[in-house]
């Protein structure tokens, strides 16, 4: 038996790593079924208007074509929104219904589905479908729609509207000498995970379906598809064992699911639909948001007012919302705060949650405004943050469950060498390059959701834990195995984890960074239940050495349950299991967040991000040469997978600061760079030295002390880089990405 316990807290390699690098991890588009046919979706070429006619004649005659579905010939679909709202991540409005009618809401909308004998034939025939349209001029730029912005929308479930104003920010601002009011904008982004959206529907013969689909939570597509197509939930199983990145885009069911399932039911055979890379830009995106931040302060840096206003793009058919401005009411202590959040409709698909939705945008704006204020005051940007350090969440008037942000500032600054920064912009240089140092703060909720899990121990000493959550590449398999291995003092090699299957205990979609805390604690509870079960069995053995032992008095280790006070008195796991009469013992456990605790405390993760950039003075070429991200996010379960999450978040923040931009042609209403060649993300050469520091926190929000950290890594990263670019160049670019042209 290994002596590496506890696994929790170590840098344990991914337990699914070998499967992934050897190609044995199966993704949605890799499942196969006998007799399977292939589908391809045909995208609209207009962004707004109606389909007048669709010409299928050439496509129908193409080799291998079995069927072509359009809004005119499709199987019946429900006429009301209600079934489509069976989506745990739905937003207010009328959900998009693929192939429903002739109306076009956005460019690239599916207007037909070709079913053919091979993937290639389906793609080819799809290219032969033509349509005539009655096109209207689209609006795809939120700035053009800002005069139609509205704040009278139904709030989205789980997304708190901005808190009411406190104090009087407007009057305070007016009366202040030291103040600024600036507008900020981040280019629209798409998630761009490596894995394409895909659904493989396996027709099981008796009307039962097994659906392999890319999702962040199998129960959501199951609920949705059963409701929309009137299927018996007992006959539908959804799996998604591996997800090749999602970043929020696979929280909601997308049109691949409905179209593939519709085709499978119609033809009573298995169907696979894989969207193209271009079609990955016809769904969920980080919304274009126009922001204004106004700050005022006293001479000593004390903030006297904060006003943050956002106008965010949404689609014509839904009111997608994220709490963009809310953090501005709690990150710093300030008596006068006004937060305002509005929507404006444009002719695009509905935006969706994308890594740190709201915070990535809102805190970029706030943290750049804070930087601007520091120069206005002639104050070190870090000092300004410390001066206004919030000891409680003023939005909700609650103390924090834990907040080691001060330690994160301190450790981050030290590792980074923040004290080497000379205060003046353009004051540091190295050869032809201007050097700039910038910093920013990040903040994200520490959320939890009800989850269930089960644990099964078999006589051969192998433990299996399972939960219907997802591992979207974050390391869920690994941390659940670590928690379970510790519970029974097992070698982690003897633990298997299962996720991503509707046959497993219930879990909601994996998002909001709640996965580790929620699924982790559910596994903890399931293991505790299993221990109870085993002890009961052990006590029941004839002449049991543990006859009167209670759970508090025994230890589970070395394959035995033994009395803590007298290790000689023990029963092996195998004997206890044998007493059950079967070969294994299974227990279920559920976890739900502690409501009482949540009433009393506000739970957040924080980051302090420091960035060094070098900018060619003449040519505007920016290099990010050093980043330190110091993270305070509760208990760190696995230093390796946690570090990877932060690295990924920082790199994504770098993309936001310098590279990423979904570009729409304003006349055509069409994304023009819908591919990974022209949609720029950081390349290896862009990513240099990134240091991740974890400042541990003793948090009591859940028994394992987990806060989650899938999202905090991106928050603040873009602002730190943008602030460093200002420090280097003296140029304040308030529209991201900061490309060469903006620095000339």
């Amino acid at each position: 038996m290994s002596n590496v316990h506890p696994y929790v807290g170590r840098a344990h390699p991914r337990v699914d790593g070998a499967l992934k690098v050897t190609g044995r991890a199966k993704y949605a588009a890799e499942f196969f079924a006998d007799g399977m046919v292939y589908a391809a979706a045909v995208p609209s070429t207009i962004a707004k208007g109606r389909i007048v006619s669709i010409d299928l004649s050439t496509a129908k005659g193409a080799p291998g074509v079995i069927d072509i579905l359009t809004h005119e010939n499709r199987p019946e679909l429900p006429d009301s929104d209600k079934p489509y709202l069976n989506d745990m991540v739905a937003v207010p409005g009328s959900p998009f219904r693929p192939l429903y009618n002739d109306r076009i809401f956005y460019s690239g909308q599916a207007i037909a589905l070709v079913v053919a004998d091979t993937h290639e034939n389906a793609r080819h025939a799809a290219s032969l479908v033509t349509a005539t349209y009655e096109a209207k001029r689209p609006t795809v730029d939120v700035a053009e729609a800002r005069h139609e912005a509205y704040d009278t929308f139904e709030p989205r479930d789980g997304i708190p509207p901005p808190p009411p104003p406190r104090g009087d920010a407007e009057a305070t601002f007016k009366g202040s000498d030291i103040k600024l009011s600036e507008s900020y904008r981040v280019a629209p982004e798409h998630h761009n995970p490596m894995e394409l959206m895909a659904t493989t529907v396996v027709w099981e013969g008796d009307g039962a379906l097994t659906i392999h689909t890319k999702t962040q939570g199998v129960n959501n597509p199951k609920m949705y598809i059963c409701a929309v197509l009137g299927l018996d939930p007992d006959k539908v199983r959804v799996t998604s064992p591996f997800v090749g990145g999602a970043f929020g885009m696979a929280l909601r069911p997308h049109y691949d699911l409905l179209l593939a399932t519709m085709a499978a039911l119609k033809h009573e055979r298995s169907v696979r639909l894989v969207l193209t890379r271009g079609q990955m830009y016809t769904m969920g995106w980080r919304p274009d948001t126009l922001q204004t931040v106004s700050l005022s302060a006293q001479d000593d840096g004390t903030l006297t007012s904060i006003a943050h206003h956002a106008i965010q793009a949404t689609s014509r058919y839904e009111d997608y919302q994220e709490p963009t401005v809310n953090w501005s009411g709690l990150l710093y202590a300030c008596p006068n705060v006004t937060l305002k959040y509005e929507l404006a409709k444009i002719d695009v698909s509905t935006p969706s949650d994308m890594r740190a939705p709201g915070a990535a945008l809102g805190l970029y704006a706030l943290e750049v405004a804070m930087d601007e204020m520091s120069y206005r005051l002639g104050m070190n940007p870090l000092e300004l943050r410390l001066k206004n350090y919030a000891e409680k969440d003023q939005n909700d008037d609650k103390p924090f469950s834990s907040k080691e942000l001060k330690a994160a500032y301190e450790k981050g600054a030290e590792r980074f060498g923040w004290s080497n920064r000379s205060p003046e912009p353009r004051s540091m240089r190295d050869g032809k390059e201007l050097v700039g140092l910038g910093m920013a703060t990040g903040c994200w909720e520490a959320m939890m959701m009800p989850h269930s899990a089960c644990a099964t121990l078999s006589a051969d000493g192998k433990l299996k834990v399972a939960c219907g959550t997802a591992d979207i590449g974050t390391g869920t398999y690994t941390i659940l195995a670590q928690i379970a291995a510790d519970a029974f003092d097992l070698d982690i090699e003897d633990v298997t984890t299962e996720v991503g299957d509707t046959d497993l205990p219930m879990a909601p979609p994996e998002g909001g960074s709640w996965g580790a805390a929620s699924a982790g604690n559910a596994v903890r509870v399931a293991c505790a239940e299993l221990k109870k079960e085993l002890l009961t069995l052990a006590r029941g053995i004839d002449d049991s050495p543990l006859a009167n032992a209670s759970l508090d008095h025994v230890a589970f280790s070395n394959g035995r349950i033994s009395l803590v006070s007298d290790g000689e008195r023990s029963v092996s796991y195998a004997d206890a299991i044998a007493a059950s009469g079967g070969g294994e013992v299974k227990a279920e456990g559920s976890f739900a967040p502690d409501e009482e605790f949540a009433e009393k405390f506000a739970a957040f993760t924080h980051s302090a991000v420091f960035a060094e950039v070098r900018v060619d003075e003449q040519l505007g070429v920016v290099r990010v040469t050093h980043i330190v991200s110091a993270i305070a996010a509760g208990k760190i379960l696995n230093l390796a997978t946690a570090r990877s999450q932060i690295l990924g978040g920082v790199v994504m923040g770098m993309g936001m600061a310098l590279h990423e931009e979904t570009m729409w042609d304003k006349t055509l209403g069409r994304v023009v760079n819908a591919n990974l060649g022209e949609y720029h993300m950081p390349a290896h050469a862009d990513v240099q030295n990134i240091d991740v520091i974890f400042v541990e926190e003793d948090d009591k929000a859940n028994p394992l002390g987990i806060k989650g950290l899938g999202e905090i890594g991106i928050v603040g990263a873009a602002a730190a880089i943008a602030n460093a670019v200002f420090h280097a160049t003296g140029k304040r670019v308030r529209e991201l990405p900061i490309t060469i042209d903006k620095l000339l």
Binding site: R123, V621, R623, V672, H680, A685
Partner: protein, 337 residues
Amino acid sequence: MNFSYTRATTVGDAIQAVAGDPQARFIAGGTNLVDLMKYDVERPGRLVDITRLPLKAIEQTADGGLKIGALVPNSDLAYDARIERDYPLLASAILAGASAQLRNAATTGGNLLQRTRCYYFYDAGVPCNKREPGSGCPAKTGVNRIHAILGASDACIATHPSDMCVALAALGATVHVEGPDGARVIAFEDFHRLPGDTPEKDNTLAHGEMVTAVELPAPRFGQNHTYLKLRDRLSYAFALVSVAAAIELDGDVVSEARIALGGVAHKPWRVPEAEALLKGKLPSSGAFEEAADRLLKGAVGHGENDFKIELARRAVVRALSQAAAGTPQVQSNKIVN
């Protein structure tokens, strides 16, 4: 898409197969053509695979230059010892382009014939004069950050995206082609063309003509040269502006200069008068600026790409300084020296 596929065994067969069929295309590394087929921009009825043809050698020519077979992969060319030693500008330009994987697959001939990266050209769902003559040019009033500032026409403002070709233009290479009517040699500046009224034609090859080799004249500019590429990230992006600069010094004075720009026109952009301005002068930023201004004379932006004019001017000045100092840009180091 359905097409026939044949693997040519001789140059003559390949030419015959393509020349006789307007729907036929040569395919070499496929790094551009296959993408275009996936996007339904190219719909060849027949693919003639030329990768087995004996055009993979780099040979010495009688007048001391090198003749590079059309199928020499971009990587092999960049790392060839003779190229590294005698034509470092070419090696550098190749390594500034694409990614290692793409350079391994891409060929010398294919690189010359790669198509523009204009966004609209790749989207079969929208108009484009280059793809569908007469349908219009949405780039002119649309997203044109990456488009031409020089030599564009009312019909098309696309650029030629190659890095390698910019160096070849500066070095004064020639292109050997063979077609149904025999072989000919084309000067590099005559190979690619400006869009004019026929943007569908990228170059002066006739259908069925094959590039068999690219010839470099005897080595020059081994000391004072640079390839400077500016782009939207530090690697793996096409040039917003690139400059191949090469000079020869007679003592302290410039005796010969070559400047070619990439990313700014439908072909690598050279202006002999601009190069001549440097002759007989001491290298200085004043002289470089004068040459840059002449090179960019007549440059016009189309909105989003207005910045390229100033960027190109500064890039030319920097590149000439690098060349004059004998400190060429190192492609593996992202600091612009």
